[in-house]
Symmetry: C2
Subunit: 122 residues, 2 copies
């Protein structure tokens, strides 16, 4: 939240409209996975994932606002489709940790290695 906004209490800072937050919701992740197979109208999304129509609609809205999903009208229906480009920054951010989950590049990892050895040596 760039604008100063609180006099007291504060509460959570800048969660909204953030891709990381959008994919933090299990159901929203399910929607994204589902849409990999192709566009779908809201009702179909809801049915296939066992959620209510308003529920699906709300989650799709969040995904739309962060740009992970696009919609287009087809008659009365609204087809929702994946736009995964927004996931790329996330993938890259996490990729910055890639070397830390294999090798021994930081001190903690070394420490963990030590623990393992210590256990084996029991």
């Amino acid at each position: 939240m760039p604008i100063s906004a609180y006099d007291a209490g504060v509460a959570r800072a800048a969660t909204t409209s953030d891709v990381f937050n959008a994919i933090a919701e299990p159901q929203r992740r399910q929607i994204l996975v589902l849409l990999r197979a192709g566009e779908r109208p809201v009702t179909e999304v809801a049915q296939e994932l066992g959620m209510t129509q308003p529920g699906a609609s709300k989650h799709l809205r969040v995904l739309r606002e962060v740009g992970l999903v696009r919609d287009r009208r087809v008659g009365k229906q609204r087809m929702y489709g994946l736009d995964a480009r927004g996931l790329r920054p996330v993938h890259e951010w996490i990729g910055g940790f890639e070397r830390f989950w294999n090798g021994s590049f930081d001190r903690l990892d070394a420490y963990v290695q030590d623990l393992k050895q210590a256990r084996q040596e029991e």
Copy 2:
């Protein structure tokens, strides 16, 4: 939430203790990045990132509970270090969308391509 648990109202489902949720918080992401450079005691984390000591401690707790961070005691201090292995599943999940942000593998992407062409043809 595998266990049925609500009679009314329901509210948010299963956010807690989930890696996706842990990295949804900007400050926690900062902590992870900082710890890439090596272990640090709580106070140092707080100082370097401009947060209060209890604030840092709480975020570190969340990260610890999802296994992204490990701690070990060193005298009075508690050194926190990165354990990035928990990020791997996230990386892989997102990797499942990789082909969707380059090529034209799904219908929406094709639709987007069409839009671009249509614009160029104006």
